[in-house]
Symmetry: C2
Subunit: 148 residues, 2 copies
DNA sequence: TATTGTTATACTCTATAACTATA
DNA sequence: TATAGTTATAGAGTATAACAATA
């Protein structure tokens, strides 16, 4: 049977992940904007560095975004010389996207900024709780089909 | 000094909170849509039940949204008879928003749906990790100025 | 004048649909 | 005919600015 006073909505894991996610995304966006990047741009760079080059369609599937959005992301990153598009000679319909040295540099800067953000977010946590948070979030990401 | 191979971006707390938050928000939106509600509508109902009635401006500040957005939320909830607006007789500029019985019923249904969502999200976690997650997320919410 | 609420407008993000080039 | 990429268009969500009513 249900409790008479169930846990309020604002105390659920879903509500907390939603609100914290929104807060964190805003701060992440602000941090990477300093490099002329949008959050999804950085996501694409991270996917490229982790997985190597791949066709735009494959990348769109990995990131769970529409193929047309991947065009926009690749356009912007190409303009910044953070990626290059190379036509697949075997199948000239495919555009393989590869990260450049400058792209790696940008990604490293964003990664460093994100580590700082982590430190700020978890400043009030003990080292033990911080470790538990990392571990459980990683498990949640895996069991819900997210990369990382 | 920095590590040569720092933790990759996708393993940071910020990235995981951002991506999990986005996933969870989509599923939450889907769940509450069954009741004709948007996520922020439910957020307003939760704030009202937790804190009692308050003026629209105060509510907008609590929710960290623009006052004009609060008008939209109150309009929709009023149309559903989930809230009422009552002019403050002491200061006729103020519209106090109060939750109705029907509003409480809607909120209870959304809360139950969110508990189900919690169960799904954390299905692969042990009871100990689930408890740790709740505890640490609550601490993060508090130390980052979020309600709950 | 200052404040509360409201309306008008615009911007960001992202998806869907139509189109082009290649297979 | 089917697929990869691109372009055109549209919708959701939310903010900013202009305005109205009250203090």
């Amino acid at each position: 049977m249900d409790a008479v006073n169930p846990l309020p909505l604002t105390s659920t894991v879903a509500f907390r992940l939603g609100t914290l996610g929104s807060l964190v995304s805003a701060r992440f966006a602000e941090a990477v904007d300093a490099h002329g990047l949008k959050p999804k741009d950085v996501g694409l760079l991270a996917v490229l560095e982790a997985g190597g080059g791949a066709s735009q369609l494959e990348l769109a599937r990995t990131m769970r975004v529409a193929p047309s959005l991947l065009v926009t992301l690749a356009d912007r990153l190409e303009a910044l010389e953070a990626v290059q598009r190379v036509r697949d000679p075997q199948d000239r319909r495919r555009q393989n996207v590869v990260i450049t040295e400058h792209g790696r540099t940008l990604l490293a800067a964003c990664t460093a900024a994100t580590h700082e953000l982590d430190a700020e977010l978890t400043a009030d946590l003990g080292e033990r709780d911080r470790a538990a948070l990392r571990r459980v979030l990683a498990a949640l990401a895996v069991s819900n089909g997210l990369p990382g």
